[in-house]
Assembly symmetry: D2
Homo-oligomer: 351 residues x 4
């Protein structure tokens, strides 16, 4: 039942990139939200339908510029889909006005300024934001998110890997302290700006390895695992670009310790942890996650298998939804006390 008086006003910084468009699309149909403004530097002053004709008859909102941030209507919540390095600047400015914020950039994903510095190679300009922000892994940090005014939305790869790992690694000593993460990624994750390697003919019948010497989300994952398990795990992390618009399939390889844990116990741990979670589905046994089953939705599917003395976890999500904008809306729902699946009930599009 919709109580209109409960609805909140939101703004979106950077609404015309792939993450911003998806966020805008979800919020447009969210029963408790009214989008008051969106920004786009490239299309400031123009209707959203100019860069995105798919919104014709749906919205004719006009894009603003972040340079006019002070003159924009006061809202209850701002989402930032600005690029890394730039996002923090505007988040900081808005934070000081007391507004609630969800930052989808990687700028605030480390609570410790020193780890940020080690990961990005530069000193953080707003270290106090790091301390104050809550890491928005919805199912894990729900309580903190509920009370927070500044949420840092997790990375897409991190979300796909952390959700299955956290409950398992909270159990002490099940696995060796070093594991391998092999990500299969899709091109929307690289953003909307054309690049030679993602010109259609270059990637359409192609697949490449990327980031095989590491990635900032490797450290995001390690950091959150340390915080949630209380122990230090290290990961080897790679990504591979596939000819796909949407979706991440993550394969994680964990060597069993002498614990000799069985598949049924793994299943039990995952099931217990996520039994009441609508958006986390444990696919076991007989099947494995597939992008078709999650893309278009906020679901994360988790499957696994033991092979020799390794646990192999496979997880799948839509990088633009559960890996970014869907999870951001889920965090908003938590922050404002809306039903957690509000606006997120889309069924996977499957084909």
């Amino acid at each position: 039942m919709v109580f209109l008086f409960m609805s909140i006003k939101v703004g979106i910084l950077g609404a015309t990139g792939y993450t911003g468009v998806r966020l805008f699309s979800i919020l447009l149909k969210h029963p408790e939200v009214r989008i008051r403004w969106i920004t786009s530097e490239k299309y400031a002053g123009k209707e959203i339908t100019e860069p995105l004709p798919c919104f014709k008859n749906i919205s004719n909102i006009v894009c603003s510029s972040v340079r006019d941030l002070e003159r924009l209507e006061k809202v209850d919540l701002v989402f930032s889909c600005l690029p890394d390095g730039i996002s923090m600047k505007f988040v900081n400015k808005l934070y000081e006005t007391g507004i609630k914020l969800i930052d989808l950039s990687p700028d605030l994903r480390f609570s410790d300024p020193e780890i940020y510095r080690q990961t990005f190679g530069i000193k953080h300009r707003y270290p106090e934001l790091l301390v104050k922000s809550v890491y928005g892994l919805s199912e894990i940090n729900r309580k903190k998110i509920r009370q927070s005014v500044l949420v840092s939305n997790p990375g897409c790869y991190s979300t796909s890997v952390l959700l299955p790992l956290i409950p398992l690694l909270r159990r002490k000593d099940l696995f060796d302290k070093k594991f391998v993460i092999d990500i299969k990624a899709s091109v929307s994750g690289a953003g909307r700006a054309p690049r030679p390697q993602f010109h259609f003919p270059e990637i359409n019948i192609n697949t490449t390895a990327e980031n095989i010497s590491g990635h900032t989300q490797k450290f995001e994952i390690q950091n959150i695992i340390r915080e949630t398990s209380g122990e230090i795990y290290e990961s080897i992390f790679t990504t591979h670009m596939m000819p796909l618009n949407r979706g991440i399939l993550a394969t994680v390889y964990l060597k069993l310790s002498d614990s000799g844990i069985k598949a049924d116990e793994i299943f039990g741990i995952l099931k217990n942890c996520f039994a009441r979670e609508q958006f986390i589905r444990i696919i076991y046994p007989d099947r494995l996650p597939a992008l078709n089953d999650v893309c278009g939705s906020n679901y994360l599917d988790i499957g696994f298998e033991l092979q020799d003395n390794f646990l192999i976890i496979v997880s799948a999500l839509d990088n633009l939804i559960k890996g970014a904008s869907g999870q951001a809306v889920q965090n908003m729902n938590i922050m404002f006390g809306f039903p957690e699946n509000s606006g997120l009930e889309n069924v996977p599009y499957y084909v």
Copy 2:
């Protein structure tokens, strides 16, 4: 505002093909509908998640068999997504019980049994159904649909071509009486059953011409144009299969008569006809329809251009939504007095 007491009970015959799955997905989230049963001969007795794991946590409905039709719960409306030839049999059986029906098969798309016979080469077994059914082209036949108990849902190609043509051909003598329809189709339109020519490697980097000696929807189009314009137009009709899951792009070539109609007048006719239609968007000037702008939604986009003395119309829709299940739900909304966009507010998925 949702009045729960208004909700209706529906059943779906043939719910596990591509059209049935899409219909099921839309109805699951429709605020005024409760799905009471679905049938699937292949998966009778099994949960929907068995063939379609994407529905895990969303629905665990168990598929019934059409053979048990008599024992299924009485509902307010039945959709038939059964194959042609088979659908009519069950529609007839249900029709006699007084239930409302929407048939997505091509079985009832001709009101004249003789034209059916000419088109399909066989005599119709239930000619009285032809007479009683209403052709469910929502925007054109809204009044008849509202009063009908049996709607025959239009073909996907027909929908893409008829909607732009009907307002133009209602004007007398603007065009020659023969025009060309060149369809670019996608593989979901060929159904969910594997076939050698649609095995992934065979079509992934391929495109083929099909149906170049004609297609039953050619006659469906001609027939409806005759009924709506009062004149006889003939079409040359072809389809081409592209490596796409979803979407139809139709290009129609009409030779101008001596009328010498101008582009602005074309625009005026289309705009007037569809000004109050949410789902029909006239894309003009400066742009042309594209599948990305409609797929995932119930929109039909129409663009056009004059070249020499020809009018070229381009239209785009999602074959499983506006071309099938979305229009079926739109027809249901009309039949039952629900808001016409109820359950159909999905934004195009764009990328």
Copy 3:
């Protein structure tokens, strides 16, 4: 049998675009050719493997700049894959030195400077080149090509349409004088430079109509038909961009005149015309051309069907081979008296 002393020396202007790369690949394996230099403005001074690592272990030729044209080794033949407007300038410079030339740009495809001006909207700067160049439609102009020193390679769309049409339209009065050409094109035809609309996620699950108010190749086609048939035919011409790397599928709609020609006669005309042509295959009856059957090869497949009183022709080719570089090599083979299929024996890659 290979006579090494017969081999010729060639240069390629603009070798790192899609057409240039394909030409370079074919010539590398051509038994009678030694590539002495290639130019690339972007990669001048660098090995070909820098922009194109696929050539590692195959060629380490260093790219030159066209600005150094005078200092490059004297060769027997130069191919120009430079962009339109630029190509003519360098072709003119080389033509004056007496070297043989094949121009793959659209700069010299009209023998009449006035028709060039009407088509491109500007006066041609080297009208004498137009007069002297031979239109390199290999199977049709073989005799002229053999004696020429300057060949203008046909457009990809033109090749796909002209080859089936010329023998049919040489017969007087079989068809109306106006016909429709509906092209299904692939992204490599738009070149190697990234563009927003061909960024992978924008076109991967998309199809768009383009050029529906016309295209310069429409006039190229009309012009050659006039020259070969002695009559004036007009065409309506559109292209549609599909999510494909390679290939053109052309559908042509011709209205039969009162001649009432039969399918078997059509087949006879095509078969007679191309009976001794290795690269032209008439696909009739029972099948239709498909990109899978031609891509990767120099074949052009032609199929057709009568529908009502229209002839529908479908043709398929690889836009980078028979539609560009393959036909250029075929023309070279003709000019130098090599076996016409020399270097062009690649089997379609099929999957």
Copy 4:
């Protein structure tokens, strides 16, 4: 220089599957080979162009049935592309006649019948064939292949993994004895027969994990590593199916032992091993292998990077060429003393 008198006569068992078609295509253009017969149970008695119209004007060979094996012309070499379990039966029959053989099935890839039994779960019916066959990893086993009459062609995954690993693992104690293999595979590897999960719409925008509890090629790899390194290594092995027609990208994760080997030393080992190999390319530094650079050719590209104390190797090949038919032809060239790249000079098709 082509000496026609040197040409050999060959036959292909099972020529109309994806591997067989590719082998047939390569051999058709091989200067030293005349294909005397091919078999296909499904198309016995029919021309190859019936199932494969791409061969029109190229070959009109008529398919035979294996049941007529005794009546087929005596040839110098037979390739078997028959399915596993069936291939061995016909290989055995031919072996007894003294003919040379290359078996592309997995039937003879283990020299030890006991390891075969452990891997496939059944006793081998022709254990003497196992003993007599040579494992056809061309660059590694060249000497044995040259003297052999029966070559067992390696698996596609095995080829992609073994070639980079063998030189590294021959060095003792560089790495831990357990490593992870994560394969990105393409649909042609699953064969030409339609299957529900490879129906176009099911896999086109999808990616799935497969074989995560293991695969017979895991044991093939371990077995050959044991034979070439003299030590026992174990692997964790998974495959992932991508929406691609062709290509394998393999990522291998090896934990460094205390050896502390440096990237330059890795490079040195690989370079030394493959310095004189045309088909093996070490991509290092600055780049990584990509399918576009190898598909359509017999090349295998190897790249690598150190991340923490892991060596990550990435290799890429065309599963139908270097991973199957190309390597089979390379083995034939070795067996018969032809230039090793004869018939295999195709440049990668790149786009």
